[in-house]
């Protein structure tokens, strides 16, 4: 094990996969000359050259479309979207092309590509540079979606995403890039797509979360709750599609209480899917109504006070959990 940043972990994943497989290449805005806005591509152009680490024009639509086309022609492209918000510029390429080729053409061809999409709140970046949009993409059949919360998972999931023959959207929270954590040295280390992780074992309430709010807010929730004698089982979902339903159901069967916490807007968010599934399949196991926490149904505001009001509050979450007993 060694301790590195989330950003370095993703870079290691890229290096190992690009060394292993010559058909892997990466393209995006400001990745070769600048090394990526979060430094996540810094070493790549020096190692692999600017053909395989390719600066693109500001043409999100063409970047995603070209990745689909390159995948169809035998490559394994990784395309960087700069900010997840910009993926909405290329909705057609993601929703109608990348997600559908395999099914629509009767499984004649796979689309082994990855879209890297830095998402989430950073300091006051406002409405068009702060969104969590996994729920929007999770609604479209044909895509896999991952959202790691720590460096080890960041590396392991990115490697799995690159090797997967399905198109994968890899959400990486901007506020996580500089966080540090232990990562196995072994270049055969992969984190399987579709498997959650029990971040902390507990007995009284299951909290399901992912990405940055698991790393921060939910850790605080665990501490505050334990002070009050409530034992939290914290699940890091890691993969949004396909999500680890079994792990959640098993945990809920044990704790009888479910609380879902995500940074994205609560209204229509992916938490709703988890809540509905548990209600459908295990409502008899529950001793309290399912709780959901997410952002208010507004664009991300700019002003400090407003952004603070937008952020999840551990205290509020714990207050909600308290009422479940």
């Amino acid at each position: 094990m060694k301790t590195i940043t989330f950003s370095q972990a993703t870079q290691e994943a890229m290096i190992e996969e690009m060394e292993r497989d010559p058909s892997v290449f990466v393209m995006g805005e400001d990745i070769a000359r600048q090394g990526g806005i979060f430094g996540q591509f810094k070493e790549l152009p020096g190692r692999f050259g600017t053909d395989r680490v390719r600066d693109t024009p500001i043409s999100e639509t063409a970047i995603v479309g070209a990745a689909v086309g390159a995948a169809l022609a035998g490559m394994r492209p990784v395309a960087d979207m700069h900010f997840a918000d910009f993926m909405l510029v290329c909705g057609d390429e993601v929703f109608n092309q990348m997600a559908k080729v395999h099914y629509m053409f009767g499984a004649q061809k796979t689309v082994p590509m990855v879209l890297r999409a830095p998402d989430g709140l950073i300091s006051q970046a406002a409405a068009q540079h702060s969104q969590m949009v996994e729920g929007i993409f999770a609604h479209i059949p044909g895509l896999k979606i991952v959202s790691p919360s720590n460096p080890a998972d960041a590396k392991g999931l990115l490697k799995s995403a690159i090797r997967d023959d399905n198109p994968v959207i890899y959400f990486e929270h901007k506020a996580l890039f500089s966080t540090k954590g232990e990562v196995p040295e072994d270049s055969d280390f992969y984190v399987p797509i579709g498997k959650g992780r029990i971040d902390k074992v507990g007995t009284d309430v299951t909290v399901v979360s992912w990405s940055h709010c698991l790393h921060t807010t939910c850790q605080e929730v665990v501490k505050l709750a334990e002070k009050e004698g409530i034992s939290v089982e914290l699940i890091d979902l890691r993969t949004i599609v396909p999500w680890d339903k079994e792990m959640v159901l098993e945990s809920v069967t044990k704790t009888s209480r479910l609380c879902i916490v995500h940074e994205a807007v609560k209204h229509g968010g992916f938490g709703g899917e988890i809540a509905a599934t548990v209600a459908e399949e295990a409502i008899g196991m529950l001793d309290a109504p399912i709780l959901r926490f997410g952002a208010p149904f507004t664009p991300v505001p700019f002003a400090r006070t407003l952004e603070q009001a937008y952020r999840l509050s551990p205290e509020k979450i714990v207050a909600g959990i308290r009422k479940m007993f």
Binding site: S23, F25, D51, R52, T56, P57, S59, T61, A62, V64, G65, A66, A67, V68, G69, A70, A71, L72, A73, G74, M75, P77, D92, E93, N96, Q97, V101, H102, Y103, M104, F105, G106, A107, Q108, K109, T110, P141, G142, K144, D164, D165, N166
Partner: protein, 334 residues
């Protein structure tokens, strides 16, 4: 190369072309025409569901371009894609079965008329999204360049599609990276019910190439030999590493936008006139017969064979089973 060049009628006398090539070009055009007529009549009889967009009158473009490609080259097609797919060498039975929504179709009945693909011959798929194919073709071109191959990637699109933003992103990207991509505009004058002059600021779509410093050519899209000649030179340049180009083929959409289109936006006389003066198949027949390059018997033999192949394809499609409902969940993920 100039930013816009008009490709003239081929200067090569018709007699100089090999009988094999002429037969192939004619065979492709006739097969497309008969296939489309068969699809049309069965659609109107209520046997084919969904949307069907016919290629009748534009056969010379697919036939002329594809004669310069091999199975290793890539094409990206459109909603009006049967002609491209046939010309690229796809299996008529599996195409027809797909259009009928049968399990034996290219896409196991999951695609239909607008989504036929045959990756084994480099046909990367028809696209139901207007302008959806350009960037994919650019990606295939990028893959070719990265792996050091000499494959050409061709994307077909309509004049209407050239107003999508994807056109501009793709042209620019192909140009800066000098990718082996041929953009083929099928200028059939119409985008659904809208004539191109009301939506397009330039006289020729090829004029837009000037904005990207790539060569743009215009050719008579109803003359299969002219298309063949133009594509031959351009494809050779692209294969030699000279970067992308655009070929605009002037033609006319003889049929409605889709089968069943009431066509209130234009007169029957206009369509009739275009068909009589510009039908690429009769133009070709007259030309080769006059030059003595092929005989009527040669043409008849090709026609008969196409008829037979399509009858077999139709029989196969009709007799094939529909996919089982359980197949709905198959093939979503690998």
């Amino acid at each position: 190369m100039s930013a816009l060049a008009i490709h003239k009628e081929p200067t090569v006398p018709v007699r100089k072309y090999s009988k094999k090539l002429l037969t192939e070009l004619y065979g492709k055009m006739v097969t497309i025409r008969l296939f489309e007529q068969t699809v049309e009549s069965h659609f109107l009889a209520g046997e084919i569901p969904g949307f069907v967009h016919l290629y009748i009158g534009e056969e010379a473009i697919a036939a002329g371009i594809m004669a310069n490609l091999t199975n290793r080259d890539y094409i990206e097609s459109t909603h009006r894609g049967h002609g491209h797919t046939i010309a690229k060498g796809a299996d008529l039975k599996r195409m027809m079965a797909e259009i009928f929504g049968k399990a034996t179709g290219y896409c196991k009945g999951k695609g239909g008329s607008m989504h036929i693909a045959d990756f084994s011959i480099g046909m990367l798929g028809a696209n139901g999204i207007v302008g959806g194919g350009y960037t994919l073709a650019v990606g295939a071109g990028l893959a070719t360049k990265l792996s050091g191959e000499d494959k050409v990637s061709v994307v077909f699109f309509g004049d209407g599609a050239s107003n999508r933003g994807t056109f501009h992103e793709a042209l620019n990207m192909a140009a800066i990276w000098q990718l082996p991509v041929l953009f083929v505009c099928e200028m059939n004058q119409w985008a659904s019910t809208t004539p191109y002059r009301t939506t397009t600021s330039v006289e020729n779509i090829a004029d837009r190439c000037q904005g990207y410093s790539i060569p743009g050519y215009v050719v008579d899209g109803n003359d299969v030999l002219a298309v063949y000649e133009a594509a031959k030179d351009i494809v050779a340049d692209i294969r030699a590493g000279k970067g992308p180009a655009l070929l605009e083929c002037k033609t006319y959409r003889i049929k409605g936008h889709f089968v069943g289109d009431p066509e209130k936006y234009r007169t029957k006389e206009e369509v009739q006139h275009e068909f009589e003066t510009n039908n690429p198949i009769t133009r070709f027949e007259e030309k080769v017969l006059k030059a003595g390059a092929l005989t009527q018997a040669d043409l008849d033999a090709v026609y008969k064979q196409a008829e037979q192949e399509i009858a077999e394809a139709l029989k196969f499609a009709k007799e094939s089973p529909e996919p089982s409902p359980e197949a709905i969940y198959e093939d979503l993920y690998v």
